[in-house]
Symmetry: C2
């Protein structure tokens, strides 16, 4: 009877509510550390409506997490009691309120089944399609609890140490420890470690817990670790189970090649991203476990070459934005507001999902208008006191209006214009401002003598870093002559400080791919990611500097174990290898048209699959031959400047030796 | 050590959170009925800061309802653990988050004691003085639970009926029933009644409950009733205690006179208002127990002549407004947005409380701007589809722009201008718009032929009701000639339909007082309120029509017991008797200057006290003599057109016979 029913809620509120919960979960030794930005909540009083057409009588029962009632054709009825709908048309409205969580509804019925055919309203004038997803299809479900799955994990070793027991689970993981049949005479103290050192350095381990003496059973919160050091009990005094907590995601992208280290890097990148793909795309799973717009922006791209899970991208975009009125930039960071705006257009490009654009556009527009309200007479945006002008951890001259921010601002204006236009709400003011801003950027920041974009102009320093110049290459802010100049004077210029974070390395390596330097990229992947592999990493780190050794490797933010050893942005090789080596990318929204332009990048052979929005392209390239197969129309293979249309389900085989002529 | 500490929270959020809780508590038989407007919530992630100057070292402990930590001079510390502050200056910041309630903080310390000297922030750019009140002075308190008091109540009778037991508590009350030592073989079903009929008519009683079979103890939610009918158990099978739930309020106003019925009316009005004075001023305690801006507006005035409790007025004003962005008019009612705006100026007039005006002004301004955004080319505001243009339950022609709404709009513009001006943020656009609107009102609505304001002009009906004309008299929208005309053609004209609701009777009787018709008012009080008394009412009703008899008296909104028998607006005699009979009113904000102009209104003698913002005026008037005593300077007695300055603490005695000459 409940075919087609799912739990429904006010659209976006599931995401906002779980973002609220997630943002206050950060722990550090003996206190909690709520995020330092405004946290929004779901609406607590909502209603749902549908005009239900019954060809035959049906029984409808309304379940809810919350209190309320059901109006059926103007008469109030109780929740959780069967209601008979006679043949004909019925106007149903369900009112539900809940003060301590997400009010939501499940209608067990046929025509009345709850799903996105219902509308939702928070008592404003506007009714919107109800929010729902595939995670909550049963009436027993509760969307207030995120639908993770759990699997029992065994340690690879248990070692008795002087003061306790050391468990090694063999690799980084995220799990809840469950202590059962406890018979310990005193508190059992638990010290987690992403590294062995952290677990054993009990004065400084970031994540700790304790089982109170006298407990029979104790379940710890789910946390990130590879090692667990348990003090205060013998192994016979409890049974310990580790429950791996994860979101099932289906791997659609794959990559193998002639270089085994690169293969291992790809696999570890996949595992790293998977651990960070939860309610939303996290930055890292140990600390801070928050959602950062700039970090998430990269995860969206990586996801498109791995899971192509559109739900997690949408969830993340909705959560990051929160609700009106806007208090500060997203994550307090100027650039992160822009990545958020840009991500909507990028998401559309990958999915052609107009429903989502329609839903999010009002929030996109108000975010854009907020940024515009902060511009100066030159049309530039600046950080106010209390704004974080981030771009990267680098010696950028951030005085006044910063070039990299203006490029992101311009890209955001363009994205807003396009997305508005897509749903028939396009406002030319955004387009005009985009064009003006591009001109202003060229005028104020391009330094003809230096042949590069300067960081900022107000200080008079005319400092050059790679960042704005990389953006200029990526998003075509440089004409061919300027491009050459940037490549020569910045990208290939060792006097310009190197990019030191994997975060910005994403953009730098992409720029290098764009200008055809794949062999350099292959080398960097091997050096940087391979370097972490060689140190025994089981997931990629927040930051890695080969020059740093010993315990110092784990230090960050002034904390001995402050560094995250499982950081989403470490997974960027997946994107680079899929996008530029397998060479697959959409050329029309939703991959209605897509290009396949594989390159070996110095490898002997590469092989893999790339999801293309409902389809998959498989690519196998050697120095001799290329084979491409797509289960979706619209593909075009490009090799050495020549294009070959790709037919659905028909492999295209090219002799690489002959195709070069 | 905790001298001076109180619980603190983000300002306004205590009110908004308790308003959220209150708005979903409405019950009706077997379902809940959440309010039909958007409900806002407190911020869930907040921080507090103070620069603490310690002359001597002190120990500080931070308690919180929520998770978080304390920064002391840039170092993080845990909550609930003593922190030593050395002699000197310390920068303290406390971060607290709570997802399912109000995050709040209590600092046990000396210089560090938590109170409004701390600032609060929700991670926007603005820091505000922390919110607090006198209800939560102990570290064991929890501001998430409203601080009611409880007193055991005994029934005046317990009667065994055929199917159960009937408890009569002698008068309307609001209490929690507590069943203890239950030994009943089946469910105990409970039926509440404000009237005997409702309690016994178990199919239709609005409030019901049930003690599940097998319970040993059961505490019902607090509810309104006089009678309780208990079915399914014998008296020996349980012990029943009724716990009266109330907010202690100190009665500062009083009134007695030569007419005992009027005295009883005053007392019953006081009890009626007290029952409705809870977290906020409610409309009625049975159904719907919500906060309605128009109802509350009258309670503010009554309160000023009874408790002069400024906290409950502030709480109500804050709760009604909620947060930005504005979704609809307050309570969905156009006029109720205006009463809300006007109430702030009225509150200031009574209290001279600039701190509150400063706090609320941004919300006042955005409410005003919301209304202005809805105006038409004539400068008038209209109800949109989905807006409720209420004014009163009366046959008002509500086509298009309604006169009474425009008068309220104009008064709101004036109030916004004045309040902004008071805090140095006055915007002349409000003043200009006020002046223009007044002219437009005269031009569009004054009908020279009819000598009155018409309801509206668009329909061409040129209909006349009392409502707009009463507003015009109250707020001086009529010149002396027009006044006379309104009095003759509307107020004294029986062809114009009578005011039928006690809600609007408030304004009508006030207008009659203003034009000197106190004897008519006395008669109406005796007829209308006395009529309810004679029917055995123990609190005043939502509505009373002497022509309706029997069970029909309780009917309203199509529900047999739909009418509220304890409705705040029934308490208006307190205001009328204090304001126009005892004759006390402020003539400068905060009663820095006040007038005492007593009138007998046809009574032989009157006697009473009126609170005057930190002081009290007592008045005793007979036909022969007047005695006035104030414990506060600034008073001026006016009798028969002559004025007599009133000295603090010195009784002024006048011979009324001689003073008339």
């Amino acid at each position: 009877m409940n075919k087609g029913s799912v739990w429904i809620w006010y659209p976006g509120d599931f995401e906002i509510y779980h973002h609220l919960l997630l943002n206050i979960r950060r722990e550090e030794r003996n206190y909690q550390w709520p995020a330092f930005w405004r946290l929004d909540d779901c609406y607590h009083n909502v209603r749902f409506r549908k005009q239900v057409h019954c060809d035959t009588p049906e029984e409808m029962t309304v379940y809810a997490h919350g209190v309320g009632h059901v109006w059926v054709d103007g008469k109030k009825q109780a929740l959780r009691k069967p209601i008979i709908l006679s043949t004909g048309i019925h106007n149903i409205e369900i009112c539900v309120a809940r003060t301590d969580g997400l009010p939501c509804v499940y209608v067990d019925g046929v025509q009345s089944a709850s799903n996105s055919s219902w509308e939702a309203n928070e008592y404003s004038f506007e009714w919107l399609p109800a929010g729902c997803n595939e995670l909550y299809p049963n009436k027993e479900d509760d969307p207030n609890i995120f639908s993770f799955q759990y699997a029992e994990m065994l340690p690879v070793s248990i070692e008795k140490r002087q003061e306790g027991l050391l468990y090694d689970y063999g690799k980084e993981t995220f799990a809840a420890l469950l202590f059962e049949n406890i018979q310990a005479p005193k508190d059992i103290r638990i010290f987690y470690g992403e590294s062995l050192e952290e677990a054993l350095d009990t004065e400084h381990s970031i994540l700790i817990d304790a089982v109170p003496a006298g407990s029979d059973k104790y379940r710890c919160s789910s946390r990130a670790f590879r090692y667990v050091f348990v003090k205060g009990a013998e192994i016979e005094q409890f049974e310990l189970t580790a429950l791996y907590e994860y979101l099932p995601l289906y791997k659609k992208g794959s990559f193998t090649c002639s270089n085994d280290e690169v293969n291992r890097i790809w696999d570890m990148a996949e595992y790293t991203l998977h651990l960070n793909s939860r309610e939303f795309f996290l930055d890292g799973i140990k600390r801070d476990r928050w959602v950062w717009s700039g970090d998430a922006y990269q995860s969206y791209f990586i996801n498109n070459y791995l899971y192509f899970d559109t739900d997690i991208t949408k969830r993340t975009i909705i959560a990051l934005r929160g609700k009106d009125p806007i208090a500060k930039h997203i994550n307090t960071i100027l650039d992160y507001s822009f990545y958020w705006i840009m991500s909507i257009h990028d998401y559309y490009q990958a999915t052609k999902d107009l429903d989502f654009v329609s839903f999010i556009y009002p929030r996109m527009k108000s975010m854009m208008d907020y940024c515009i309200s902060l511009t100066d007479e030159d049309g530039f945006i600046r950080g106010r006191e209390g704004d974080w002008v981030f771009i990267d951890w680098a010696e950028i001259d951030k005085t006044g209006a910063v070039c990299a921010e203006q490029i992101l601002f311009a890209e955001s204006l363009k994205a807003t214009w396009i997305c508005g236009d897509l749903i028939g709400a396009g406002e030319t003011c955004y387009l005009e401002r985009y064009n003006q801003l591009k001109e202003q950027i060229a005028k104020f920041y391009w330094d003809e003598d230096k042949g590069a974009y300067i960081d900022s102009f107000e200080s008079g320093k005319r400092n050059i870093t790679r960042h704005a110049n990389i953006f200029a290459l990526l998003w075509d802010y440089a004409d061919p002559k300027q491009r050459e100049s940037i490549i020569m004077n910045v990208l290939s210029n060792d006097a310009v400080p190197k990019i030191s974070t994997p975060y910005f390395k994403f953009y730098e390596l992409e720029a290098m791919c764009k200008i055809g330097r794949l062999e350099d990229v292959t080398k960097q992947i091997q050096d940087y990611w391979g370097g972490m592999l060689q140190l025994g990493a089981t997931t990629f780190w927040e930051e890695y500097n080969p020059a740093v050794t010993g315990l110092d490797r784990y230090e960050m933010y002034g904390d001995r174990y402050g560094k995250s050893l499982c950081h989403a942005w470490g997974a960027s090789p997946i994107y680079l290898l899929g996008r530029y080596y397998l060479g697959v990318n959409q050329t029309a929204a939703g991959y209605d048209a897509f290009i396949v332009e594989p390159q070996l990048g110095g490898l002997e052979w590469i092989k893999g699959t790339v999801p293309v929005n409902g389809g998959t392209v498989s690519v196998e390239l050697t120095q001799e031959a290329l084979e491409v197969l797509a289960d979706k129309p619209g593909g075009m293979v490009r090799v050495n400047g020549r294009e070959y249309p790709l037919q659905k389900d028909i492999p295209l085989r090219l002799n690489m030796k002959s195709s070069t002529t």
